[in-house]
Amino acid sequence: MSAATPARERAAAEVTVHNAHKWYGSHRVLNGIDLTVPAGQVTVILGPSGSGKSTLLRAVNHLEKLDVGHVSVGGEPIGVRHHRGRLKELGERAILAQRSRIGFVFQNFNLFPHLTVLENVAAAPVATRRATKAQARESALRLLGRVGLAGKADAYPRQLSGGQQQRVAIARALALEPGVILFDEPTSALDPELVGEVLAVIKDLAGGGTTLIVVTHEIAFAREVADTVVFLDGGRILEQGPPEQVLSRPREARTREFLSRVL
């Protein structure tokens, strides 16, 4: 697996979150988040469960609607447009087109079980008219090679181990050549001995011209790969900075307490 990036890959996109608020009923999940993720960098979001990290990640590709504020990817507001100084929700077609430029990797893989591994990876480029069937097939095989699963193209997802399924899911996200890929606890559903193979694939993507935002509990991975670590608690960013600062010399007592529990 080489880190060499094909020339045709989309340029990495900057992700900015502007004053994000979100309520579930009376429960406040996001409480005014402002965040800038520079293009091409790896940002790891840490935080106790219920801190809003998954909601924040899902807001980036509009799987969750924000009540206040918005997210921009590559300068383009996602799911909304500015209209006379206000934010108006976009139509579904426009949102789907935006999502096809943002990769998303789920905790539970969510591969399509009735399609083969190759079909899973090749489906979206064809369905969104980015590629012909032959082109999509060819680049799907290349991507499967990149995640180390070239031999599994004709298998069905349920015939694979969890780690292999997650690597297919990553290849599926890469197939649309996104400027940013979002990982929602990509290793939390895996057996401990399978975590490494998935993290290795993500690490291989780092610095390869794609912005990566990873929600995870893997502190060692954050320390090694992240450019920035963001610590979330109670729907707010408590602190952020380079991993050696946030993970080794946290300013906040809450961060220290969290780290002592997960390490």
Binding site: N61, L63, E92, R93, L96, A97, Q98, R99, S100, R101, I102, F104, F106, N108, N110, L111, F112, P113, H114, L115, T116, A123, A124, A127, T128, Y156, P157, R158, Q159, L160, S161, G163, Q164, R172, A173, L176, L194, E197
Partner: protein
């Protein structure tokens, strides 16, 4: 990882598969003897005896008049009725399913107006008995044909002024389809709801177009739940078409009824003719169901279930292997 199991020395008694029994020199005492089921054989014998008795009764009882059954079974008048049954069933099954899919989509949509309209339709047509719908439509069409007015129920009634059979056929198909759509809607909706929420999310996150999400991602998985329920519905429909007799359309059952009034002595063999034909129709549907279900289990099961033929071959192979093993000892 799963691909490469560690190599085990071939000499280990627990490592060798049954086929290589002789070469590995596995101690015979270690062979696992599968659980025997002696009571199954007793039960099998019992069932066979009961079946033989029923068969014997059917054949020897003069009451069934098997010569008259043979006389009627392939008579053109009966086959005409069978064709009518097949036509009504096929049209209603297709139109009913189409209507059902549209109603289910409306019910699952984000539009409150569509949701409410779909709910009201299903509520209405599940509340009114099919026979009432049919008779209502029948009288309606009679009224309109006398007034030679336009088409109140869509393009289906264009054949209005053609032969009276066509009209009756259209009334029957429209009536049954309207009723069928209400039930099919719930079957389809249940299927769509059975698909994991993560699948909808993954399809949305990839930015797949709405139509593609439904036809290529959600529906193929929903069909696993839809097929058994809809086949149930379809089998009810095959038999339910006998109600069209009441709107003067002579299907299989209708023909049998008319023949019965002309030949009162043949009531029982004629009923047997209808029974056997209905059994044949539902059997064909059940066989098709097996293969359709098998097709849609791709990926859901690690291995697809064997067809009956494959199972038979496999069973024979096992038996032969066992006999060979026993004789070799």
């Amino acid at each position: 990882m799963t691909e490469s199991p560690p190599a085990v020395p071939a000499a280990g008694p627990e490592a060798s598969p049954p086929a290589s029994d002789k070469e590995s020199g596995r101690p015979e005492a270690q062979r696992v003897i599968p659980l025997r089921h002696p009571w199954r054989w007793v039960l099998t014998a019992l069932v066979l005896v009961v079946l033989a008795q029923i068969g014997h009764g059917l054949v020897t009882n003069r009451f069934f008049q098997w010569d008259r059954f043979r006389y009627w079974f392939l008579r053109p008048v009966i086959l005409d009725g069978l064709v009518v049954t097949l036509k009504v069933t096929a049209w209603s099954a297709v139109l009913g399913l189409l209507g059902g899919v549209l109603l289910a989509l409306a019910r699952l949509s984000r539009s409150p107006v569509l949701r409410a309209a779909s709910w009201v339709y299903v509520w209405l047509f599940r509340s009114v008995p099919l026979i009432v719908v049919l008779l209502f439509l029948y009288n309606f069409s009679a009224l309109y044909s006398r007034l030679s007015l336009g088409v109140p129920f869509g393009p289906g009634l264009v054949h209005f002024k053609e032969s009276s059979l066509a009209t009756d056929m259209v009334v029957a198909v429209v009536g049954i389809s309207l009723n069928e759509a209400a039930y099919a809607a719930e079957v389809v909706r249940a299927g769509v709801l059975s698909v994991d929420q993560g699948q909808h999310e993954a399809a949305a996150a990839l930015g797949l177009p709405r139509g593609y999400q439904f036809t290529r991602i959600v529906m193929p998985q929903a069909l696993r739940a839809i097929v058994p329920a809809y086949v149930n519905q379809l089998i009810g429909l095959i038999k339910g078409t006998s109600l069209v007799f009441y709107v003067s359309l002579l299907d299989l059952f209708g023909k049998v009824q008319t023949m019965e009034s002309t030949y009162p002595g043949d009531v029982v063999p004629l009923l047997m003719v209808a029974t056997v034909w209905y059994v044949i129709l539902t059997s064909v549907v059940s066989v098709v169901q097996f293969y359709v279900e098998r097709y849609y289990s791709r990926g859901a099961l690690r291995t697809v279930p064997p067809t009956p033929l494959q199972r038979l071959r496999g069973g024979l192979r096992d038996l032969r292997a066992r006999i060979a093993l026993e004789t070799a000892r």
